[in-house]
Amino acid sequence: MTVQLSPAHVAGPQSSMPLPTPRGPVGEALLRLLTGAVTDPAALHDAVAATLAAPAGSWLEHDDVQVALTCMYELHYRGLDGVDDDWEWQPDVLAARAALERVVESELRERVTVAVPQETSAAAVAAALFALASSDDGPSMSRWIARRAQREHLAELLVHRSVYQLKEADPHTWAVPRLGGAPKVALVEIQSDEYGAGDPERQHAALFAQAMRGLGLDDTYGRYVDHVPAITLAHPNVMSMFGLHRRLRGAIAGHLAAFEMTSSVPNRLYGNGMRRVGLGADVTEYFDEHVEADAVHEQIAGRDLAGRLVEQDPTLGADVVWGAAACLALDGWWAGHVLGCWEADASSLRLALT
């Protein structure tokens, strides 16, 4: 068998994330520490303590907290430009992250409540998750895109999504060694597809990068973190939190199930909206691929991953359903922000696209 090496750009972004611009004292103190401008972590601890002592609305919409979390989590993925990889396990940074995670998780637990599933068979859990996903009454981004979006809206959509989609599937991969038996096999089956099933060009992150380039966007990993509001960063941050904590393995499994269950139909609508404004297959391929792929994945994720996990350990049932509901809620809050801006003829981004 011949292995053909692909050009770097189709193999997916390899580079570390450009340093985001801090949006408050926590991010400023964090980046000063990570870049070596200071060596004493006291300023970071003080900034976190002061911020948490003065809650100002939702932590999911708190720009400073969400940017800081994005930087902290990125240490576990591709790293940050110019930041030593040793910071990944530095105790002061981990302690600051834990403090921020506590308020984020506690807010999510308070705002997202679902009934604990009574039946714990795989089939019953899958049915409960499908019912949850189909009863979601959040604002429909995909219908808006299909009917009304112009090119600039589509560019904004891809900018928002790029924060996660350029590392698509990675947060859920953290769960692999935390699972065993059928749920592990199901997760790997899904992830293999996400990662191109042996073909670097078919990685979903690579297809997304191709769509970005097709719309004239820069597909550099993390390029648009500064452009998006906190609520956009919050969802990938919550995924990282779910994925990086063994305690939350039920939530990350449920999250993936809900993500897949709300993907195939919306992605067809996204593709239709893009074709309507004359965009070609280079842009729509990512969305068309997800129509078929996620029609498979949602079945595997619902029954074999989430369902079998609850069958193995019924005590995880509550978190599986909660993780799924959190996925739907975060997507709904994000869509509410973006559609609210667009309905008002405004940009949904913090910075203009140049």
Binding site: A123, A126, A127, F130, S134, E189, S192, D193, A197, R202, S263, S264, V265, R268, E289, V291, E292, A293, D294, A295, V296, E298, Q299, I300, R303
Partner: protein, 88 residues
């Protein structure tokens, strides 16, 4: 043993998903009415059985919005070797 070798000896497994597609795991070739193989881009595929898909023969999730319902329960089928077995 590699995954590829493994596929040669394991039977194809077809799972009827409640109110959804047939999930097919294993090395199958799907051909159209004209005999031309339909390219599959993944190892596990979902075949539409609600009739509503816009991407036949593959499932595209349409069963979730067109009210498709299946009988309950249905057997899981293994095929591909003599004496194909039916589970459950």
């Amino acid at each position: 043993m590699t995954g590829r070798d493994d596929e040669r000896v394991r039977p194809v497994r077809i799972t009827p998903c409640p109110d959804g597609p047939l999930l097919v795991r294993g090395p199958v070739e799907v051909v159209g009415a004209d005999g031309v193989p339909v390219p599959a881009r993944r190892r596990t595929v979902a075949l539409c059985r609600c009739g509503g898909t816009a991407a036949p023969p593959w499932c595209d999730g349409t069963h979730k919005v067109n009210g498709f319902r299946t009988a309950d329960p249905e057997p899981e089928v293994q095929a591909g070797r003599p004496g194909a077995t039916v589970e459950r």
